[in-house]
Amino acid sequence: MIPGEFDYYSPTTLDEALSLLQEHGDDAKILAGGQSLIPAMRYRLAVPEVLIDINNLTELEYVREDNGHLTIGAMTRESDLEESTLVKEKYHLLADTAEVIADPLVRNMATVGGNLAHSDPANDHPATMLAYNAKIIALGPAGTRVIPIDDFFTGLFENALEENEILTQIRLPRPGPNSGGAYIKVERKVGDYAISAIAVQLTMDGDTCTAARIGLTNLSPTPMRAKNAEQALIGQVITPDVLEAAGQAAAAECNPSADLRGSVDYKRDLTRVLTKRALTKAIERAKGA
């Protein structure tokens, strides 16, 4: 369980990291928290010839608000997100998510940028960022590019980043008044990936839902939104029947596969129930805000 051989670089500036990436092309991989990449290298599922370690780019570690956005540096550790008062107070969906990713030891290394760049549908941030309608900021030789999250995930472990681009920042719009969000995940044990998990971000006008985005975790080969469930909510006065309809829509439109975590039928029904629970929690928060 020892990784294959590779050349190692630890650039101290973004420019240096970019030129290394240019030079080595698809032989190279970025090393962020390493909590997905190093296990993959130990199983020889990944055999990069070159690793470009960006852990010294501390300029990419921050969580702050500017211009109506929460901006998260790609190298922000999950544990820093978990401990951020700003996130706890204003970004409930994100706070819910950060604390159920892996375990505390993994969270001390794992990064938000790495979680998204890995584009594993089992990872928790993709669904959350889909629900927030986040933007991904990528830096390449031609400069900075903004990728809307709806265009970011393109397949299993695949995304819109070019080989010579570095994900530098994630930007979330600050939720407006009467908005709320929640993340609910069921896992076999702490530190495991979700059997099913639901990310919800919505806006209410009294009892009417005026906007909603729902992301699903580990329920499809590519991280996905539950668009039919969203449509079942938007413009509706929220009643138990409407919540049930949204839950059923999410259960029908997701595309889970049977594995050690459960059968397809079980995962769909769990999704129905969790969708209702996440919506209920998000609505409570929207009304309380």
């Binding site: 369980m1 990784p3 852990n55 544990s79 505390p104 030891l105």
Partner: protein, 162 residues
């Protein structure tokens, strides 16, 4: 193969070593430094037996390359009783029977130490949360939680919380 010269602080002492890029921190600690208190339990980033502090944070040393520790500080279980006296956490595991086979213990203690440095007066729930990345196949965890509570109290007596 890429070889690298790294300078790091291990348990308070600055040292320089030559390492292969692919050498994992846990193998470096156990085999190059001969500090065998840090264990390898799973080889798959699941068990936490290999927990050490990297720049003060508890991490799984089987999932970090030694070369990444260049310029950083590493603390292992051996640092705790360096002066010959048991650390309050070690005393707690002794007094409260926080171990049976002891395989998970160094990792448990390093995770607990990270917790107590940030939060000197944790609730039981916070303790269980903090050690949730460390697996124990023997104790059923209750005694481990009591050991950490014991240590927290001892440490607070030494340095009262403001």
């Amino acid at each position: 193969m890429s070889k690298h010269t790294i300078t790091l602080t291990v348990n308070g002492q600055e040292q320089t070593h030559e390492v292969d890029a692919r050498l994992l921190l846990v193998h470096f600690i156990r085999e190059n430094l001969n500090l065998t208190g840090t264990h390898i339990g799973c080889d798959s980033t699941s068990c936490g037996a290999c927990t050490v502090h990297l720049n003060g944070r508890a991490v799984k040393s089987c999932t970090v390359f030694a070369v990444q520790a260049n310029g950083k500080s590493v603390e292992t279980i051996e640092a705790l009783a360096a002066a010959g006296n048991l650390h309050p956490l070690q005393e707690g595991f002794w007094e409260k029977h926080g171990l049976q086979c002891g395989y998970c213990t160094p990792g448990m203690i390093m995770s607990a130490k990270d917790l107590l440095e940030k939060n000197p007066d944790p609730t039981e729930e916070e303790i269980r949360w903090a050690i949730s990345g460390n697996l124990c196949r023997c104790t059923g965890y209750n005694k481990i939680v009591e050991a950490i509570q014991y240590a927290a109290e001892k440490l607070r007596e030494k340095e009262p919380v403001a």
